[in-house]
Amino acid sequence: MDNLVPLPSLGMIPERDLGAIPILDIHHLGIDFGGLHAVDDFNLVIGRTEIAGLIGPNGAGKTTVFNLLTSVYTPTRGVILLDGMDIRGKSTHQLTKLGIARTFQNIRLFKDLSVEDNVKIGLHNAFTYSLFSALFRLPAYWTSERKAHETALELLSIFDMQNLADQPAGSLPYGAQRRLEIVRALATSPKLLLLDEPAAGMNPSETGELMENIRKIRNTFEIAIMLIEHDMNLVMGICEGIAVLNYGKIIAKGTPEQIKSDPVVIEAYLGRGKEASA
């Protein structure tokens, strides 16, 4: 694991990412829901190939942060810079085209469509052709569809799922569904991949495989990954930088070692009961 080095703005990124614009640079992000500060004064920097973790007790606001980053919610305060660009006013699908992809806490697959179709929808903007070409089956249609088909199978092979291509996505076992969601997100060629509890419901060996795969994805595609997780083995195992959220505010930021021994973090978890286990 690389050392984290401080940046002039309020954060730390991996050394190898110095010299490039951080993929994500968030300043004083906040959102209020009816008087309640669901997220407040959230500052974070993520390097271009960093694996970052966002942890915290249930209800801390982690998914809310993801929703803010993907424009599902509009921030009340603050600035989000994606690859140096202010994303204010951009819609969710525009942000996906600009390079943010995500998975969801409660899996959101296209259940009645095939596995391959799920991935192809992620490839919607990768191999384009007009409606006219589609309607009259012009050459552009055939070429793009073939490429989409090949690319979809390639992506599915990351998780060795290419044989499942024709199955309805809803018929997959839970773990496979989670993996499919990740493949679909990757299909959008993101620069930043947001994973919301990717290991939920997985046993230790599946989690171990997932950790390998996340690293493999980062190394193959050279992208940044931010994940929300409760499984501490996973988080401590692969994250380079971790931010801890409690009641909508960041209470600690740093490397796994720093976070593990931070008394504020420990209190936030232990003080609320037995949250700190995998």
């Binding site: 998914t63 929703n67 599902v72 969801f104 409660n106």
Partner: protein, 295 residues
């Protein structure tokens, strides 16, 4: 002076129609509040109430009081029956299925009535005749006054029922959170049935009042009336009881104003235009509560 009396007469008409819309809208709102179903068949229950009254008085020559009771009772029983036969099996089914079933029930009622009673109108002997009231030099229809009074009384009783009785509390609880209500020991099925019964009873009263103004029964009379009452419920905020009342009067008055302006052929269009404006500006209506989908 005649313009003034025309407008006043139209306002009275509007209040009369509005109170009927309000009674019917209440049924829509209550059912939607409790099982999130748009009961398209609600309007047709009114139609059957009218036919019951007609059968009672024209065929069996009973006295009007008996006919009224029969109509209200008939509507109540029909509403309960429909709930048990068509909607209960679909509890938990996707909303589209429920909606389509409700449309099917509505269709069924209309066509069954057409088959049994024929498509042409049946004249209902009048329930009561009340002399017009005089306000200075203006006459107000007695029927209109009675309609508004009876509606108001019904709504007051309903509010009392919902706020002060145990069953009313149960209705509110199930509307708020069905699972929690069940865990508190509330019998969901009987609460839902009761809601349908009350809603249908109100529709029955509405039917009687409607027939006192327009004393005829046709198979499709419930359709447009139901649709407009439905718009009233949406306007007031579907799921909200005070909203249904406000919505009903608003729609009634709107129609009256359109007629007063001499544009009565556009009445229906205006009502639906109101619907569209409400849905675009504030879909949850004047008093409704917004719903959030969790991402």
């Amino acid at each position: 002076m005649s313009v003034y009396s025309t407008i006043l007469r139209q306002i009275v008409n509007g209040l009369q129609a509005g109170s009927i819309y309000a009674l019917v809208a209440l049924g829509y709102s209550m059912v939607y509040g409790i099982i999130t179903l748009l009961n398209f068949a609600h309007g047709d229950i009114i139609m059957l109430g009218a036919y019951i009254a007609w059968i009672s008085m024209a065929k069996f020559a009973t006295n009007p009081v008996f006919a009224i009771i029969a109509a209200v009772l008939g509507c109540t029983l029909l509403g309960v029956f429909i709930e048990k036969a068509a909607y209960k099996p679909l509890r938990g089914a996707p909303r589209i299925s429920l909606l389509i079933t409700a449309i099917g029930v509505s269709f069924l009622l209309e066509n069954a009535a057409q088959m049994v009673f024929g498509a042409s109108a049946q004249v209902i002997p009048s329930f009561f005749s009340i002399p017009p009231l005089s306000l200075g030099s203006i006459d107000i229809s007695g029927n209109a006054v009675i309609t508004v009074i009876i509606s108001a009384v019904s709504m007051i009783l309903l509010t009392f029922l919902v706020q002060k009785t145990k069953m009313g509390k149960a209705m509110r609880a199930v509307s708020e959170d069905t699972d929690a209500a069940q865990l508190m020991g509330i019998n969901i099925n009987s609460t839902i049935t009761f809601t349908f019964a009350i809603g249908s009873a109100l529709a029955g009263i509405g039917s009687v009042l409607y027939c006192s103004a327009y004393p005829q029964a046709t198979p499709t009379m419930g359709a447009m009336l139901g649709l407009k009452a439905f718009v009233a419920a949406v306007l007031g905020g579907i799921g909200s009881i005070p909203g249904a009342m406000i919505g009903g009067f608003a729609i009634g008055l709107a129609e009256a104003l359109v007629s007063a302006a001499g544009l009565s052929v556009w009445k229906d269009g205006v009502v639906f235009a109101i619907l569209i404006i409400v849905l675009l500006v504030k879909p949850t209506g004047l008093l409704g509560k917004p719903m959030q989908e969790k991402v």
